[in-house]
C-alpha cells in the first residue's frame, strides 16, 4: 500500500458473545482494510464503507440464534447502510442476524444431526460478477471451515423457488469436485444453501468462516478472496 493512501475502513460489529470478532478484525487488516471495531450499542458505523457481522454466539443464542442481536441499537445503522447500497457481510451468527432482520430470506433450523459441527466443508460458488464474491467464478470450489449448530437453512417452498430463480444463492455445500451430493451437505440446508446474496448484490450472508482462512499458515487462503472483495467494495 502506497504511503498516504487511505485503506478502506470496514466496521466489525461486536456483540456480547461474539467470538470471531478478533479473527475478523485481523483478517480485514490482512487483506488491506482498516478494521474498525464497532460496539453493538453504537448508533452509527464510524464512517466505515462496509460492515461485517461476525460469528459467535451473540447473547448466548438466547431465544434463537441472532434474534436478540437483530434488535441491538447498531442494527438500525446496519439496515440503513444496507438499504443505501453499502456492502454488508454476515458470517455464521452474522448470517443468522441478517435472516432475523429480514435483509436475507429464510431462517435457520437446528442442524439435522442435532450436533454442533466444526469442520472443513467444500463450497461451490454459484454466481459470477458479484462484487462481494470478488474474483471468484461460478463453479469454483472453496474449502472453508464451518462451526455452527443452527445452519440448516429453511424457507417455505415459494420462497425457495424465488431464491433460486432470482439467483440469490451465492454458495452451496458440495463434494470436493463440486458435485452436489446430499452427503456433502453437513446440516440439511434446503438445496444445500450455504450462502445467500440480496437482489441488489450488496448483502452477503454465509455460514462458513472466510476470516479463518486468510493465510496458508492457518490452513488455507480460500477465505481471503471473500474478505478482500468486501474490503474492495468498502
Amino acid at each position: 500500500m502506497s504511503a498516504g493512501r487511505r485503506r478502506p475502513r470496514v466496521a466489525v460489529v461486536i456483540f456480547p458473545g461474539s467470538n470471531c470478532d478478533r479473527d475478523t478484525l485481523v483478517a480485514v487488516e490482512e487483506v488491506g482494510g482498516e478494521a474498525v471495531p464497532v460496539w453493538h450499542q453504537d448508533v452509527n458505523l464510524a464512517g466505515c464503507g462496509a460492515v461485517i457481522l461476525p460469528g459467535g454466539f451473540s447473547y448466548g443464542d438466547y431465544l434463537r440464534a441472532g434474534a436478540m442481536a437483530a434488535h441491538s441499537p447498531v442494527m438500525a445503522a446496519v439496515r440503513r447502510h444496507a438499504e443505501e447500497g453499502g456492502p454488508v457481510l454476515g458470517i455464521c451468527n452474522g448470517f443468522q442476524m441478517l435472516l432475523e432482520i429480514g435483509l436475507l430470506p429464510g431462517a435457520m433450523l437446528m442442524n439435522r444431526t442435532l450436533r454442533f459441527i466444526c469442520r472443513d466443508v467444500h463450497l461451490r460458488v454459484e454466481r459470477d460478477g458479484m462484487p462481494l464474491l470478488g474474483h471468484l467464478r461460478r463453479g469454483q470450489v472453496l474449502r472453508l471451515p464451518i462451526a455452527h449448530k443452527e445452519g440448516n437453512w429453511f424457507a417455505p417452498p415459494e420462497v425457495v423457488r424465488e431464491v433460486e430463480s432470482a439467483g440469490a444463492v451465492a454458495l452451496r455445500y458440495c463434494a470436493p469436485d463440486g458435485r452436489l451430493d446430499d452427503g456433502a451437505n453437513p446440516n440439511g440446508a434446503l438445496n444445500a444453501i450455504a450462502g445467500l446474496v440480496n437482489a441488489a448484490g450488496n448483502v452477503l450472508g454465509l455460514m462458513p468462516h472466510p476470516e479463518r482462512r486468510v493465510r496458508s499458515l492457518v490452513g488455507g487462503e480460500d477465505g481471503a478472496a471473500l474478505m478482500r472483495a468486501l474490503v474492495e467494495a468498502a
Binding site: 431465544l63 431462517a107 437446528m110
Partner: protein, 79 residues
Amino acid sequence: MQVEVRVKLKQQVLDPQGEAIRRVLAGLGYSEVEQVRVGKLMLLEVAGGDAKKVRTRVEEACREVLANTVIEEFEVRLP
C-alpha cells in the same frame, strides 16, 4: 397478569429434536408415541388489566421478536 406464550415449529417444518426424543421414547417402550414436537414456553408478567390490549401487545411482541414466523407459530394465552 401472567400471559403464557407458546412458540413451536410450524407443522410443515421438520423438528429433528422432537424426532430424536420420539426415538428415545420408542426405545424405552413408549412406542405408542407417534410424534414429538419441541417448543418454548414463555411466561410474561404484564402490567395492565385490559385483556384485549394486553393480547394485542403480546402478539405484536411475538411477531417482532419472540417468534420467527418463517419457521415458528405462536399462541398467546391469557388467564
